[in-house]
């Protein structure tokens, strides 16, 4: 199963996904992380600008990755009970 990299921006708390060379607030921008991921993660942890960087498992194709856990789907979409606050690239229906 593919994995992607996620975290929260220190300054804002925004949920982020690694887009390859920068971070995005949309899961549709997430890229699959290969073997280079461990070094990337270690660097992020040391730099302490992104809170709780971690890999998560997803299904689907690039541009339409869907996390395998409900928690991460909620995190990607927004509260399931407030569709009006949904983040954009994953709808609350997908939770």
């Amino acid at each position: 199963m593919p994995r992607i990299l996620t975290g929260n921006r220190l300054e804002t708390g925004d949920v982020l996904w690694w887009h390859g060379h920068c971070w995005s607030t949309q899961i549709s921008d997430a890229v699959e992380i290969g073997a280079e991921g461990e070094a990337l993660l270690a660097g992020l942890i040391a730099a302490e600008r992104i809170n709780d960087p971690t890999f998560i498992e997803v299904t689907g194709e690039p541009g339409a990755f869907v996390p395998t856990t409900t928690r991460e789907r909620v995190r990607a979409s927004g509260p399931s009970v407030r569709a009006d606050l949904a983040r954009g690239s994953l709808s609350v229906e997908a939770i």
Binding site: N8, L10, E11, T12, G13, D14, V15, E48, R49, N51, D52, T68, T69, T70, R71, V74, R75, G78, P79, S80, V81, R82, L85
Partner: protein
């Protein structure tokens, strides 16, 4: 209510400046996240699923209209236009940015509010009775003592790195509207046989992974010594509470492991050394604070009847309005559990409406209940109708206090990183079955359903007549069903009924429980909880699982 003097304000201002400095150092990487996190938590700022979550302290659940307007302003300016009132009488905002937090704290401090010690391993918000100062059954207003505790516990140098969080609740009546037996320290104010005012002190109650009902550590401590006595309890806890296992770190575990006799012996020994040190505030300080909780200027001779000819108004009065100690007055509860709503949430517009109504009709005072509702405690009966109409226009007049749709639900996995399952949709789906028929709800009668999204139990599921606990079952959301809890003076802990359910299963199970209750109750007036206590779990279990 209590108003800051120059000293209170100076301390808040210093704390805000200190935290701004700490944030600045973190943003410049001068301190690590591991070092910063306890500091951030001590100022009420969590990192949750979507953003930082801020928990603003509402000391013993009491706030003014001006303060409520500021909470509305915070929602509009720094968040997404709403807030959530919690089971410990605080308010939470879910979309806060760290880089704006300094401005937010400045705004709060302008109206004598803050977010200190609403998180972290320290003494948290002191909670109390939402009817304080208005209820006929209280000995005296418990809130001055909550205020004394608040000051004593704020930035206490010895107790800022406890094994775990510490929660204290204070009441002054035999009716327990603050669940004191489910707190780390619970204090009941009363007069002893000699007429002296003092507290019965409960210790070691709590929910979460190991729910326990508190035990009496001291039958009577005079009010003049309750701060030094609390200090003794905290010191025993700080020294001996477990630090090796976060699930066994609350004081309830220490009390259980030592036994109440040995625990009491240690507290009394510690208190013997502390009491002579002059830690207790003098009578003059008690008098100063008590004076700020004096009765409002009641209108003597205000009409003591209510015109109930409007049937919708009558429904609301029947359900949401309680007797006040003063003739001509009433206590009104504003339900934050409207149809299709989110339990405990209020929009900034609704907060402004409530602030205006408090100002106009309720001596400018609002209370938060630990059932995630709000109370206007000093309302003239003659004003209730006009006030109700204004509430109704803002979707704040749902007449469902303590009924099946008045569900307590923690934010759950829609918001919280600790959760295993979502709780709000469960509450909504249960409520949806009954919310279109207030007469059906009233027929069911008092039924307290409480939903927690994880074992930490912020939804107080162990104190629910029906409790629901979200669990993780191989990566899927699942729910356990518990029965028979109560957070009132007849405290009891809800017990698991049988195997767990998925989301549809738990909704269905609650339906079956209610249907069984209606068929088995001895009279329509017998509450669900009392039918359960009379019949035991077996017939309920059969009704659900057969």
């Amino acid at each position: 209510m209590y108003r800051y003097d120059q000293y209170d304000q100076a301390i808040v201002d210093a704390r805000v400046a200190e935290f701004k400095d700490q944030v600045g150092r973190r943003l410049r990487n001068e301190i690590t996240e591991d070092q910063f996190k306890p500091l951030r938590l001590m100022n009420g700022l969590y990192l949750q699923l979507h953003a930082y979550m801020l928990r603003v302290a509402i000391p013993y659940g009491t706030l003014s209209g001006t303060q409520m307007r500021m909470l509305a302003h915070i929602a509009r300016t720094y968040d997404r236009d709403y807030g959530h009132f919690t089971t410990r009488q605080n308010i939470q905002y879910n979309w806060i940015k760290l880089e704006q937090f300094s401005d937010l704290l400045d705004d709060l401090s302008k109206v004598e509010m803050h977010a200190f010690q609403t998180s972290g391993n320290c003494i948290r918000n002191i909670s109390s009775d939402q009817f304080a100062g208005a209820a006929a059954d209280e000995i005296a207003d418990p809130r001055p003592y909550a205020e004394l505790l608040r000051q004593w516990s704020t930035l206490h140098p010895e107790f800022s790195f406890l094994p775990r969080k510490f929660k204290i609740a204070v009441i002054a009546s035999d009716s327990d509207r603050a669940a004191i037996q489910l707190h780390d320290i619970g204090l009941q104010l009363y007069r002893n046989a000699a007429g002296m005012l003092g507290f019965r002190v409960y210790v070691g109650g709590g929910m979460g992974r190991t729910p326990i009902i508190g035990k009496v550590v001291r039958e009577f401590i005079p009010v003049g010594q309750f701060l030094s006595y609390s200090e003794a309890i905290l010191r025993v806890y700080n020294r001996h509470g477990r630090r090796d296992n976060i699930y066994k770190a609350r004081i309830k575990i220490l009390v259980t492991e030592l036994g109440i006799e040995e625990f009491t012996r240690q507290v009394e020994a510690e208190w013997a050394t502390l009491e002579p040190l002059g830690l207790d505030a003098p009578q003059a300080e008690y008098d100063r604070i008590i004076a700020q909780f004096a009765d409002p200027a009641y209108e003597i001779g205000a009409p003591d009847t209510i015109d109930l000819s409007d049937p919708d108004f009558k429904l609301w009065v029947d359900q949401n309005v309680h007797a006040h100690k003063q003739p001509g007055y009433a206590i009104a509860t504003i339900s934050l559990k409207p149809k299709s709503g989110i339990p405990g949430d209020a929009s900034s517009a609704q907060m402004d409406v409530i602030a205006d109504l408090a100002d106009k009709y309720a001596h400018d005072e609002i209370r938060v209940t630990h059932s995630q509702n709000l109370v206007l405690a000093h309302v003239k009966k003659a004003d209730l109708y006009a006030m109700w109409q204004a509430l109704a226009a803002a979707d704040l007049a749902t007449p469902n206090l303590d009924l099946v749709t008045d569900i307590i639900a923690c934010p759950g996995m829609d918001y919280c990183t600790l959760a295993n399952a979502r709780s709000i949709p469960i509450a909504q789906k249960i409520a949806a079955k009954f919310e279109n028929s207030i007469s059906e709800q009233r027929d069911i009668g008092e039924l307290k359903i409480k939903v927690s999204g994880c074992i930490n139990g912020c939804g107080h599921h162990h104190a629910g007549h029906i409790g629901i606990l979200g669990v993780d079952k191989k990566g899927e959301e699942a729910y356990q069903l518990l029965l028979g809890g109560s957070g009132a003076e007849d405290a009891s802990l809800a017990k698991i009924l049988g195997p767990g359910f998925d989301e549809n299963g738990i909704i269905d199970a609650v339906d079956k429980l209610i249907a069984f209750y209606r068929s088995a109750r001895s009279a329509p007036t017998e509450r669900f909880l009392d039918t359960y206590r009379r019949l035991g779990a077996a017939p309920f279990k059969e009704a659900v699982y057969a």
